[in-house]
Amino acid sequence: MARERMIDTTAEAAKTPELDQPYAELGLKDDEYARIREILGRRPTEAELAMYSVMWSEHCSYKSSKVHLKYFGETTTEEMRTRLLAGIGENAGVVDIGDGWAVTFKVESHNHPSYVEPHQGAATGVGGIVRDIMAMGARPIAVADPLRFGAAEAEDTRRVVRGVVDGIGHYGNCLGLPNVGGELVFDSSYNGNPLVNALCVGAMRSEDLHLAHASGTGNKVILFGARTGLDGIGGVSVLASETFEGDETSGGRKKLPSVQVGDPFTEKVLIECCLEVIRAGIVVGIQDLGGAGLSCATSELASAGDGGMRVELDRVPLRAKDMTPAEVLSSESQERMCAVVAPEHVDAFLAVCAKWDVTATEIGAVTDGDNLVITWHGETVVDVPPRTVAHDGPVYQRPVQRPESQDALQANTSASLARPDDLRRTVLEMLAAPNLAAKRWVTDQYDRYVRGGTVLAQPADSGMVRVDEQTGRGISVATDCNSRFVALDPYEGARLALAEAYRNVACGGATPLAVSDCLNFGSPEDPGVMWQFREAVRGIADGCAELGIPVTGGNVSFYNQTGSTAILPTPVVAVLGVIDDVDRRIPAGIGTETGETLLLLGETRDEFDGSEWARVAHGHLGGLPPKADLAWEKLLGEILVAGSRDGMISAAHDVADGGLIQAVIEMALIGQTGARVLLDPDQDPFVQLFAESAGRAVVAVPRSEELRFTEMCTARGLPWRKTGVVDAESGSLEIQGVAEFSLTELAETWNATLPRLFD
């Protein structure tokens, strides 16, 4: 039965200035609501209120983080920008990698939905980041997922892990994008708040860079992809004065859960469709519909152009009956994109959409006015200056205060913790710990082969894919964050995260080029959390300046907490690297050459605060993180790249969580080749095996190259030490004078943990 619904128009709003509006329920503060009235010179309509409230939310407006994020721009020099084709402010930064190729990459969080509904939450996280990359005109070429879950043995972790991994696999595998890496970390601080971050890399010819613009009066606005339904509307539903029983397509209006449902097949054809229209040169601008749906897409497109925009909202193809204009604007239905197309290209555009069976509808046009005007069956429901919605949101100066507990945390060092007598047992206990165990249970559920260009993937330090089949040019990407280090010292911890991701890219033989981040923190209303946030931002930005590579974009996720307890501060850092020929990538496994020497590059200090050993053996977190020396990291990176270029290194692995022995065991197990580890008689074996000092890597060099390589290290001032030999015949790993293990024993220990917990 058809229902008449009062539509709140701009004319109605002008007539009824005193109408009581539910702005507080939509998350707007008194002064924010007053400002909207001031901008418009009247009260907002229901649809306008919906747009402002969602676009001025923390998620869309970065209102708490903005004042701190400015620091990234302030610390980026012209020299660091030389390879940047687009930077922060666009959907994702774009970097020139040479041979006429440009690469874009971004990490986004989908934390809260993934706790409520792990499968769909994680799946739609993949979908969203992929559309972000497409909005730059790039073909998505690889994905990776930094994941953090509650304690591995905690009751609810199994549900969340299984759902998230299944969701990422289900969605990502259907898109035909290789999953090349990511992270898997368990910590009880994530018990009620997992972190599901998704990274996507895209590539394009430099000349195809398409920014989200809506220039050119008369150009058409086309919405294409899935239909719009009631999903993800969340807070806006308070605007609806009535609710009904029934499902979405009947006359009733069932409230859908706030987590959206993804359809990877629709996304896959949307990808192909987008790439075809971009290749054909028939789009002026292109924009994804993610959080805040059409509210975001129309206001951002319009404010990026040079005119206004008119949208006939009733033309939007709907999946649900009786949706109000506010709901259509706020819907977060997945798999939708918006394009601006010149009138003469509209037919060609629609033909491509028809070929791929993608629904496409002209919903409006670029005008020569100043405002974004949205009509509903001929009546104006929105008439706003688009910048005020998209960019001029509120900016908060939240209180920042170093927590009083920080001193006590740093004073409680690991020095008093009892150290083990039985190192053999400790090696096995560490190897089986959930954070150090093999991640195959997760990564075997993802397709790493599709597109045929993957040359490195988990368990390698970085994921590497070929971009140009003729020249062999490729990119590499790694993400890292040891949130325990960040908790102990947010500034140093963030620099350590950057250092590790940088090192991981270099370990594959690629040159680090650019940084993106996903900053996961607790509530910004907590001054202690804001202090962690500010320090971490400064740590990453200062670190990037030292390394000479720019931050090209990022994402902030606040309110990650259970009750009043925040997660460990987790600024995930992603580093993108380039390699001119993927054929010279360095694998992580030993045994590819006969007769290799293992060298430890860097210096090992007695650093155990925040280490994996302190967690596994004592459940301890306190003290100060290891020192990060970025000049040193840069030198180490240069040596690794030089070693790869001159064929001096046959395998390399970063030394981080679990220390030297964890790195060597992984190199042996990946390469299925035995080795003998030689320790320095002048240093405590426990420290040598398990300390987590930064700036270190283990490399395998063919014996014929050993002298040349070590002389290069010495000449450039990088400390090195011969730490073992590869022993292909032995089938075992021997730590001389300490213990011996068969590779079978190590493999079983390493591989058993995750299947035991989650199968």
Binding site: N173, C174, G176, P264, F265, D444, D447, E469
Partner: protein, 226 residues
Amino acid sequence: MRIGVITFPGSLDDGDVVRAVRRCEAEAVPLWHGDAELHGVDAVVVPGGFSYGDYLRCGAIARFAPVMGPVLEAAAGGMPVLGICNGFQILCEAGLLPGALTRNAGLHYVCRDQWLRVENTRTAWSTRYEPGAEILVPIKHGEGNYQADKETIAALEAENRIVFRYIEENPNGSRADIAGICSANGRVLGLMPHPEHAIDPLTGPSDDGLGMFYSALDSLVKVTNE
């Protein structure tokens, strides 16, 4: 030699098959799911992916695609046809091969490097292998658990139509460790593993997959010469 590679909406490994065909110096001809003819190709590959999203049963919609009509006709005439992963599922649904692929025994999607034994080297797609050769090829699927009734399995065994078998570990619960089977005349082959991802040790675990494409080219040369 012209080898057609079909793209359905949702196909994923079509580009990878094209690369593999070109590596063997044959011509790869893209075929669209809506095509009513095969554009004069000498062989057809139905690649992996999720045709039309595979929301019903894998391959159940794709078998009705316009391009499948001429594929069935060509197969009846002896044209070599290879179905990889989703392609195998489609060939089973289309009736070119017996049996069905069901959910993996562990219920998880599995992506890993898998050892196979070549059991029959007399099909259009396997003559380049030594009898009993062990090859390393990636698998990546959620529904690769081959099932058929006892009589069918017995017939496949008796007629030597099990072309590839999983060795070391059965990754999905397939009956008789079946990784790939062929038609009675040995011209149509379906397998779950991905030979197109084993053409170069740089991007795959080996180049063992090339043998399948070279075999097809050999068989075509023989047909042409006869």
